[in-house]
């Protein structure tokens, strides 16, 4: 704007430049403030264009009036001002337009970022809530039948009743306590599982036997807390309710290529069990939990071979 040396004195050019530019700056600020609180969408871009045009005209009129007042005494200035109006207008409009565009881009991006963050937060909350729910799902059948067993033992074998009350309490306490620490080492999870198995053995007597084979190297590998119990519960239910006579549940753990691999085997009768039963609720919840934690759907697999149903869970190690 300091190109106004067209025969004008130095002071006049300076006043003109300062005034015009200050006013233009104010207009830019106005545009930025407006766009900060009001981002155009779709058709509203026309409004923004109109706003720019209007502001430019207002700026032009205002600066012309003020400059006329201040610098009217300089010779030839008025003519020069008049002649340069179209250039001033173009320059101002271009500048305002540019500022508008940058502001729109800037604020849109900001808004998008905010939205993404909010979405992420919401997803995280939902995931946590779901995980919490999945962990909480204790089969009421198990609880009531255990209480019924205790009730029976109180009459005939009070010492054993006491022991079972203790086991059931420890088991339930484990369910509550472990919610806070999401990850546990396998050894700890197996101790907890043992409580569950002991209770089930009291319930089902001689019908239920277990064979546990855990490689020592896996003892300190990590897995999500309370993951194994529903798998074993599923196997027990499947095994006990699908066959008559003794049921052996085999549990094994090994390390394979940075994965903790746990296999749970139960007998079943291929003639009477529909495949649907095999992947019942228990396994769905396990699959869902692992999906929420690892975003992978291939961590729970099942196989059926020679009347033995195998559930395989792979847990990636960090």
């Amino acid at each position: 704007m300091l190109l106004h040396f067209f025969g004008q004195p130095w002071e006049a050019a300076a006043v003109d430049a300062v005034l015009s530019n200050t006013l233009l700056l104010l207009a830019c600020l106005l545009v930025m403030i407006v766009l900060r609180y009001y981002l155009p969408r779709g058709q509203q871009y026309i409004n923004v264009f109109a706003l720019c045009l209007l502001l430019t005209i207002a700026w032009l009129l205002l600066s012309k009036w003020l400059l006329g007042l201040l610098l009217g005494q300089y010779e030839g200035y008025k003519l020069l001002l008049h002649n340069s109006l179209s250039i001033r207008f173009s320059l101002a409009f271009l500048l305002l337009g540019f500022i508008t565009m940058v502001s729109i881009l800037w604020y849109s991006q900001l808004e998008q970022k905010e939205q993404e963050e909010r979405k992420k937060d919401a997803e995280k909350l939902a995931r946590e809530a779901e995980l919490f729910k999945l962990r909480q799902q204790l089969q009421p059948h198990f609880l009531f039948n255990s209480l019924n067993s205790i009730n029976a033992l109180i009459g005939s074998r009070p010492q054993e009743a006491r022991k079972m009350v203790q086991q059931l309490s420890d088991f339930l306490r484990g369910t509550i306590k472990k919610d806070e620490a999401q990850w546990v080492i396998l050894k700890e999870e197996l101790e907890y599982l043992q409580l569950y198995l002991d209770i089930e053995k009291v319930r089902f007597g001689n019908r239920l036997a277990t064979a546990i084979d855990i490689e020592e190297i896996t003892h300190n590998l990590k897995l999500p807390a309370l993951l194994l119990q529903p798998i074993v519960e599923n196997a027990i239910k499947f095994g006990l309710y699908d066959t008559i006579g003794e049921t052996v549940i085999e549990i094994s753990a090994a390390k394979e290529e940075n994965h903790l691999v746990i296999k749970v085997k139960n007998p079943f009768d291929p003639e009477t069990s529909s495949p649907k039963q095999g992947t019942g609720f228990g396994l769905n919840s396990v699959q869902r939990r692992l999906y929420l934690l690892f975003a992978r759907n291939d961590l729970v697999t099942t196989e059926a071979k020679d009347n033995i149903f195998i559930t395989i869970v792979r847990i990636p190690q960090a």
């Binding site: 009421p140 059948h141 009531f144 039948n145 209480l147 019924n148 067993s149 205790i150 009730n151 029976a152 033992l153 009459g155 005939s156 009291v202 319930r203 089902f204 007597g205 019908r207 006990l240 309710y241 699908d242 066959t243 008559i244 009768d269 003639e271 009477t272 529909s274 649907k276």
Partner: protein
Amino acid sequence: MSKVIIIDDEPLARSVVREYLQQHPGLEVVAECGDGFEGVKAIQQHQPDLILLDIQMPKITGFEMLELLDQPPAVIFATAFDEFAIKAFEAHAIDYLLKPFNQERFDKAIGKWAEQQAAIPAPEKNTQELLEAASLSPSQRQRIVVRNGSKIKIISVNDVWYLEAADDYVKIHTTEGYFLKNKTMAHFEQSLDPAIFVRSHRSYIVNVQQITRIDPYEKDNHVAVLRSGAKVPVSRSGYAKLKEVLGL
């Protein structure tokens, strides 16, 4: 002396019932069974006056076991938790005990049974109604349990081709031949999944997943040809129902 049979797969659950029964000298436990197969045998052998029955048991449920009996005895159910079963009980059972239960509650159930025993000696009606209600449970829709002499057969509904009315029985045609079940067509029409089993004719219910084509047959009628080659009559109203289910 009235005869009682206890049927439950958990030994301790049986023992607590036995213990509570000691307070009822007029009742004698003639058998204890760990599953429904044993239960059917024991009931046929002893003809008990009352059975105490669990629902969730190996192989077949308590409801399925009752269906296998020609004349089911009076039943008191003892179960831990089954939302659907509880609804069925509320409507039709003599009584049902929610585990764990105490002596007092048990005595009350026995009292109810004794009352009914004295009033009308026909508990089968209740049991039949109960089974009708229970058969609508989603888990029971997956399979049909039939008795073939002394053998018990569990048929997955996927293996059923069609059902045919045969006097007091329904003939269930499957991949392994047919089985008879002492039920009505209305029972099956109601209890089987209506998206798969359609009453195509007064005397026929067909598994739509087995149908390969439907041919016209005489005037107004049709016949459904199944994958196995079997032909199932389709009446005019049956044809309309089939068209709806198949989305034609």
